[in-house]
Amino acid sequence: MMSDAGDSGQQENRRDFLKIALGGGLVAWLAAVLYPIFAYLNPPKQAEVEVTSVKAGKVSAFEKESGTIVRFGNKPVVLIRNAAGDFRAFLATCTHLDCTVQYRKDMGLIWCACHNGRYDLNGRNVAGPPPRPLDEYRVVIQGEEIFISKKA
């Protein structure tokens, strides 16, 4: 009797051991199959030239009360010239859902066509869904040339 009970106990131990070994093996095998697939799905970081400053053009090329999209690396920047003739530059990507904003002379605002988001000419979100102000860039004028650079 005693030895019987001992036998079945030992058998159960062996069964548990096999369960763990095979189950663990299956999990490890699945991980070995799935890991490369998920890693493959994640796009590699592309080496990009870090742009710190771009030349936007000559002051005379921009009318008062106008807005122009300027390439800043691979990002669009909107360069605004207000009624007083001062320049301001903002990242043109709407803080709501990533659309590209535009200057609206009739509204005197920066406007996003996608969801009617509005920013004043200081980039502050004043109406509609945008949750944050536009990121501001620095505008430096050297002689006639306008330079846009990232704020430190």
């Binding site: 691979n74 990533d98 535009q102 869904p129 944050r132």
Partner: protein
Amino acid sequence: MKTLWTKLYDWIDERVELGGLIEFMGKKYVPVNRHSVWYYFGGVSLFLFIIQVVTGILLLLYYKSGEQLAFESIQFIMSKVQFGWLIRSIHSWTANLFILTAMIHMFSVYFEKSYRKPREVTWVTGMLMLFLALGFGFSGYLLPWNELAFFATKVGTDIAGAVPIVGKPIMVFLRGGEDVTGATLSRFFGFHIAVLPGLFTVLLGIHLLMVQRQGMSEPMERGDQPAAERQRMPFFPNFLLRDLLLWLIVLNLLAILAVFFPWELGKKADAFASAPAGIKPEWYFLFMFQTLKYIPGKILFVDGEVLGILLFGLAGLLWMLVPFWDWKSSRGERNRFVNYVGIFVIFYIIILTVIGWIV
């Protein structure tokens, strides 16, 4: 002397035992009642799906994916390839009609409570196919690489990115990077022509198999009527011929739409242009788009769009699970609450779509 046809039939029958199948089809009946008209919308959706497969394969013969090629290849299809304009227009129109008929099909099933036990699997596979159809629409919309599609994709994937925790990796996965670029186009092309059709076909197989096994659902109020008193018509050939006639009408309608209202191509996408005024998503996303306009940027500490997405996600999930929370209908009792929910949803969708359209 056996004719060639009977010889051929016998040859196949001896090998695959067609007899049982033919007997099954001969016994297939479709209920006849005042709601019978709704039975046709599933069939029409199936027909439109078949058209999409055929025209999609035809477009593949000339379409080229890639930032520098996609827009130009569609221009080529529409201006140089014989009947290319027709094939592309039919593909675009059918996509829209398909979503429309699938939605009508879905709402008719909902109000008839045909999802009730034992047809839960049919309902859930149908809902999953509708979600896939929206995925087809969204991914296919980008393939011409035009201005509207570019911003629609930016917004759509950014919305996915707003979901807490899992959102950002999903957005990067969908875009193939941080921004919408040629990498996004490649991925969407793959989703549109391989991933989604594969999944859709499996679900469609299950869906149709269930319909064949269980037959059409009967309206609830006829549950207690004796089977002999119920009106019905044989599927072969009575219902099938009606189906085919309707398919023919739908094909004619498509031809008229494609010829007289050819699908526009628009301007090529430009990452350094502002979103054009009056930009709108396709009509079937319009009610969600319009809702996003009304939700303020911040509600307490939660971003407005996050709230919007979570609410729509939850609503869609509850809708898909209706057979599992509507116990009453499964027991054969009336459930008015389900009707009120359905009527509210229809009115919500229609009203916001109309507002989105005219504003």
